[in-house]
């Protein structure tokens, strides 16, 4: 039993992000209101961003901006700075998240103008008629 507890404690950040992801995932597929689906999508994307950035953490590492002259003189060792790669990847993921949310909001406006409601059940009713 304690191995599981030990493991959870050692990797608690993954557990938190997976719980966040699943809240977002459930909202995306379970909720009936279209705006709530969109909010769920945002939660899902943000939790993936947190998940990625947490992989870059190094115990005792500083921010990835090094002093230029010290670096040119070659006194920068990797252990003292955090891994920069996940930060770069997540810049891209944030921009992608913003873009998809922007397009989804524009499409939602079109749907509201067309059907006057954002509840999926009412829209499906209007379609049957």
């Amino acid at each position: 039993m304690e191995t599981i507890i030990g493991e959870i404690v050692a990797k608690y950040n993954y557990w938190i992000y997976v719980v966040l992801m699943m809240i977002g995932f459930y909202a995306m597929i379970g909720k009936r209101n279209l705006v709530k689906k969109l909010i769920g999508m945002n939660i899902f994307q943000t939790s993936i961003i947190l998940f990625f950035v947490s992989t870059g953490v190094k115990k005792g590492g500083g921010i990835p901006i090094v002093d230029k002259y010290q670096a040119l003189a070659g006194h920068v060792e990797a252990a003292s700075t955090v891994n920069p790669l996940p930060h770069v990847l997540m810049l891209t993921a944030i921009v992608v998240g913003v873009s998809v949310t922007g397009v989804a909001l524009a499409v939602l406006q079109r749907i509201y103008k067309e059907y006057g409601t954002l509840e999926e059940d009412e829209i499906l009713e209007k379609l049957q008629r």
């Binding site: 995932f25 993936i48 998940f51 992989t55 790669l85 990847l89 993921a93 397009v103 749907i111």
Partner: protein, 496 residues
């Protein structure tokens, strides 16, 4: 323009054309057609030269920004991706002839917005085919998705709702793919596909690797509308503006299947993916179910375009099943089917675009007696139908033949049965329309009066790509031998 950057210019020219269309098209519409056709013609020539060069000199490994591969982003142009580049550029050029005309009719005043998204989608597809970096593939998946969401949402009425469903499903697929890449990054520390293939087998982390493979594959399956996850495709492709449907339907799902081939064969070595026999068996069963359900659902449709979208879902079942047969014939069949199916779907969607341009609807009722009104279009439709059914001279037969051979080799009888049954159902589907078109009496359904009996053919702008595609179907069919030997054979890993 030195030679080594040619494959990137094939990608950059449509991108710059998109920016130019957005700037110049705003003022005057007549700039759009030359920019679209000019840049795509350049891409066609560039990709054909690229193809010849790759077959002659072998795979080209190119790093953007002159960095060694694992540090910079590496682009890989091997025979399969060169073949896909040629396919994408040819299909895009043919589809853009007809889109120019149908957008002029359906979206007056918004052509420059439409063609900006259209050209960026094509550039994104080129990027997807070239990239050898896992995260770069995610960014390009998002580019192709966002442009497709925009193109579909430009349609009338229900298009916005189906686009929103596609956004939600597409985001789930992309996020699953990103999660898989996150797991891979934590395990291997790198994002370069060749590097991952080298490091992954050496780690003793069976559980995390299996999860990473599962999430990347499920992400791609959602993106390619593999059967249980296909619910967004029929509405999205049938309610999109006709110009968008003609371009998106033949390419998006096929390029995603190509990505699955790329992921399985260059990122995770096949040994890793097919370790457990029951996984491949289960996926082939799911593919057989996909083929049968896709074809049966197509039977129940009252509209030609919706019927074609369900056939696309069935075709995805062909390709995924062929890959997971895990033998040489199956893989050859599914890669060949990517090429053939793209051309067949393009031919049928060009027919739909031509009919909608003239008649405004492709419901089965309005297709009665259409052979007399649009003989050339329907002749091309018959050829496309024969290809879809799998009648020998056309290309459809050869890829299905390889798939059936692969199914027999692997002992997957349910896959072979699914293929045969689906071909029969396709035959019923298409002969029903051909019979309706020839012998359907012109009884005056309410909106029939204005459809005059004598020839009312689509403009030559839409007819010429249609006839050309129909001819290409036969040419590709007959040239299956050389296509397989010097392109697809090279892709099959040794001992497969």
């Amino acid at each position: 323009m030195n030679a080594t950057n040619l494959h990137l210019f094939v990608l950059i020219v449509p991108l710059l054309a998109a920016l130019a269309i957005n700037l110049l098209g705003r003022r005057s519409r007549q700039w759009i057609a030359p920019l679209v056709l000019g840049s795509l013609a350049f891409s066609v020539f560039g990709s054909i030269i690229m193809m010849a060069r790759v077959i002659e000199h072998g795979t080209l490994r190119y790093t953007v920004g002159n960095w060694q591969p694992p540090y910079g982003i590496e682009l890989v142009v091997d025979p399969l991706s060169a073949l896909m580049m040629v396919l994408i550029s040819v299909v895009a050029l043919l589809a853009s002839f007809s889109s120019l005309k149908s957008v002029e009719q359906e979206l007056p005043g918004r052509e420059h917005f439409f063609f900006t998204l259209y050209m960026i989608l094509i550039a994104g597809l080129f990027g997807l085919v070239l990239t050898g970096d896992a995260f770069n593939l995610y960014v390009l998946l998002e580019i192709t998705s966002i442009t497709t969401y925009g193109l579909i949402a430009m349609g009338k009425g229900r298009a916005a709702l189906s686009s929103f469903n596609y956004i939600i499903m597409g985001s789930i697929g992309a996020c699953f793919y990103l999660l898989g890449i996150g797991y891979i990054y934590i395990l291997t520390g790198t994002l370069n596909m060749a590097d991952i293939a080298r490091i992954l087998p050496t780690l003793n982390a069976p559980v995390a690797t299996a999860t990473a493979i599962a999430f990347v594959l499920v992400g791609l399956w959602v993106k390619m509308a593999f059967f249980p996850l296909h619910s967004w495709l029929p509405n999205a492709y049938s309610q999109a503006p006709t110009g968008a449907g003609t371009m998106v339907a033949p390419l998006m799902t096929k390029v995603t299947v190509y990505l699955m081939v790329r992921v399985i064969f260059t990122m995770y070595t096949p040994a890793l993916v097919f370790t457990h026999e029951w996984i491949a068996q289960g996926v082939v069963w799911a593919a057989s179910v996909a083929i049968i359900c896709g074809s049966v659902l197509a039977l129940g449709q009252k509209d030609l375009r919706r019927m074609l979208t369900y056939i696309i879902v069935a075709e995805v079942g062909y390709m995924v099943g062929g890959i997971f047969l895990a033998n040489a014939n199956g893989l050859t069949g599914s890669i060949l089917h990517i090429v053939n199916d793209a051309l067949m779907t393009l031919c049928l969607f060009l027919v739909v675009a031509a009919i909608i341009y003239r008649q405004g609807s492709v419901s089965l009722v309005s297709l009665q007696g259409i052979f007399r009104r649009m003989p050339i279009t329907m002749a091309a439709f018959t050829l496309g139908a024969f290809a879809m059914i799998g009648v020998p001279p056309t290309c459809g037969f050869f890829s299905k033949w390889y798939l059936i051979l692969g199914g027999i080799d692997g002992g997957h009888w349910e896959f072979v049965i699914a293929l045969v049954v689906s071909s029969l159902i396709n035959a019923v589907l298409f002969f029903r329309i051909i019979e309706l078109g020839y012998f359907g009496s012109l009884q005056d359904v309410d909106h029939q009066e204005h459809i005059i009996a004598e020839r009312h053919e689509a403009p030559w702008w839409m007819l010429s790509p249609l006839v050309l595609t129909a001819i290409i179907l036969i040419v590709v069919g007959l040239s299956t031998g050389p296509l397989v030997n010097n392109v697809i054979r090279l892709m099959i890993p040794v001992g497969f």
